[in-house]
Symmetry: C2
Subunit: 386 residues, 2 copies
């Protein structure tokens, strides 16, 4: 089986290493034969090409692995390769979340596979586990730590008593966070993963703007200490659930018990759970990013294609609506003034901070209240109790 890789950065390099250099027995007859990279990198390896046509129009290539990231030109290149009847495997969550239908339809029309295990949960076998569970169960919900950067920051704030800024700086120095960390800390990355996981779990096509998303960048040293004193921790969570023909989803900080598995996920690891009718709760833990774990997930997809393994296709057939009154939840907001709305259950005044816990309220009431608080205090910390 002949492979081409689009993009020769960290992940693309990892795929090349696993397929062409490490060569497990299952990969003996697989080979990366072309890599698309920029003209200035042409001399790095003799299989580098600079024109997508050299790959999409090469009839000897069976599978194209896209590791460029970003929406354009990844979208056009993937569509080009699918149109030329090449299987496509990608780790690019942004382009999958934005253009899933186009890719799935083009793959179907051309009789090839479009797989994206590495886009969500990195090295964790998450998307295939959802598909496998669904052969028997309806998935009722998923929940978890989908982002290693923010987990590293929170773990470091909690264990080493670092401020958010210090922890972020360390994450950047270690290569866990980008120079512009917004995609991670403001939830765009997790939102993409919630969109992708919802498609797999519920056959549901949702957009990143269809559900509430709150930043974790306002979590302060004080907040961590306040929660610690109560045997609690804060983690950055993506989740969705389906009930009575409607769905809800959130990306936001969550207050969890210090003795929960989530609270004890160290460093930049991920932990993602699904809940099914007969299987109950299953949790999957591993590296959500990184060169070899992510490349490993890509190569697993390649091997599934080679071996004809599929636990079912992704279909986006369900037309169930988002509901902001589906279930009641309780929330914790830290802000700089007192609130005594009806929905407030209790307020704790610690130093300059007011910790406002709500009663169990609808998402609608919560979003309205959070908007009001954020208008008064843009640095307010907005969290949900697990």
């Amino acid at each position: 089986m002949k492979l081409a890789i689009l993009g020769f950065g960290t992940i693309g390099g990892g795929v090349y290493e696993i397929v062409n250099e490490r060569k497990s027995p299952a990969l003996m007859d697989c080979e990366v034969v072309k890599i698309l990279d920029l003209p200035q990198n042409k001399d790095k390896l003799d299989i580098i090409v600079c024109d997508i046509k050299d790959i999409s129009e090469d009839e000897t290539i069976d599978v194209v692995v896209e590791t460029m990231g970003g929406i354009h030109p990844a979208y056009e290149f993937i569509m080009d390769c699918l149109a030329h009847k090449k299987h496509v495997v990608t780790a690019n969550k942004a382009v999958v979340a934005a253009h899933m239908e186009d890719f799935l339809q083009a793959a179907k029309e051309n009789g090839v596979k479009f797989l994206f295990e590495a886009s969500t949960g990195g090295g964790i076998p998450w998307l295939e586990s959802i598909k496998k569970a669904r052969r028997i169960d309806e998935i009722q919900s998923f929940y978890g730590i989908f982002n290693g950067t923010t987990n590293y920051i929170l773990d470091s704030m909690n264990k080493e008593n670092k401020s958010f800024e210090e922890a972020l700086k360390n994450a950047q120095a270690l290569g866990y966070a980008e120079r512009n960390p917004s995609a991670d800390i403001d939830g765009y990355d997790v939102s993409n993963k919630v969109v992708i996981s919802s498609a797999l779990s519920f056959d549901l096509r949702i957009g990143v703007k269809d559900f509430p998303c709150y930043t974790m960048s306002t979590i302060s040293f004080d907040d961590i200490q306040f929660l610690k004193s109560k045997g609690q921790m804060i983690k950055y969570i993506g989740e969705a659930s389906v009930k009575d023909g409607a769905y809800e989803a959130f990306v936001m900080p969550n207050v969890v018990s210090a003795t929960s598995l989530e609270a004890n996920v160290p460093s930049n690891f991920n932990l993602i759970s699904l809940y099914g009718e007969t299987i109950g709760e299953l949790k999957f833990y591993g590296q959500g990013a990184g060169k070899l774990p992510t490349a490993n997930a890509i190569v697993e997809d390649v091997l599934d294609i080679k071996e004809g393994i599929s636990f079912g296709e992704v279909s986006l057939k369900k037309e169930i609506a988002y509901s902001d009154t589906l279930q009641g939840h309780t929330y914790l907001i830290r802000t700089n003034k007192m609130y005594d709305e009806d929905i407030v259950d209790c307020v704790e005044h610690v130093g300059a901070n007011y910790y406002v816990s709500t009663k169990s309220i609808t998402t609608k009431d919560f979003v309205a209240f959070a908007s009001k608080v954020l208008a008064d205090d843009p640095q307010a910390m907005i969290a949900k109790y697990k």
Copy 2:
């Protein structure tokens, strides 16, 4: 696809419920058509038969699910069904650990599958995850909580300050522990699972008596408190690893950090990890036992057979030896007298207890020391530091 179930207890009943009553779309063309049970249960359901020949010689049956438990007559019945070219799926860890080669060879000779996902980790997709990981990686080690009964007891001792006896009694009342709990608390159950996981992870045929196994029944209320004061917890662990052409394995209490994932596994859940070269550490959490989770794992095997899905066959080709000098580890022993051997690192005297921590020593030295201590004090608690 037509199924027969051998044994109509809890697990067999769960398989019947999932296949014949719940019927997910993937199971639409699957049906349990015969169930083997005792004559006195003949009237419970009109598909009950009492002679294995009614199943093994029925040419319309494709898959036989064995949920009787125990070695005999499960062994003979499985061999009979394989010889009649029926795929066999079992949850019976004892018979798999004891007779794996016979089953795998008979299945091969008859061109059918022999699958046993539910035998280890219950509802956790553990064995298939090992097979999948091995397409790319060598597995270096596995480690984890393989037994829900003992985890329930330890969790209850830790969180509710129960004595071992009280916790065991509660586990029995809840149906988590047998009236004779020895298989769980003395490690035979976990040893079987270590044998099975070693076959999948390392192609290695080992026996339950080939490696050290220590009971968890001597863990006392005092021990839990002693460790708690140090930010530690005790968990009952099965593990194995391969290095330099040899292997080591253990089943015994482990001292883990209170902030590890293992320490925070609640109730009767399991958490099992594998470590691979490129994927790093993957952990899987879920119900290791119970009617529907275990039945779910069985039905997943049935669906893999129906859909022709396989991540590779189990082969027992490796002839690497057990080594009791492979790696150094440190141990904690609680006993009623002082020891000052060379291998002792430090001793803490608390009440009537001596907590002896060893230096990093070989398994050989550890086993010799543990034997000596147990000869002096049969109630000594023997644990390994993670």
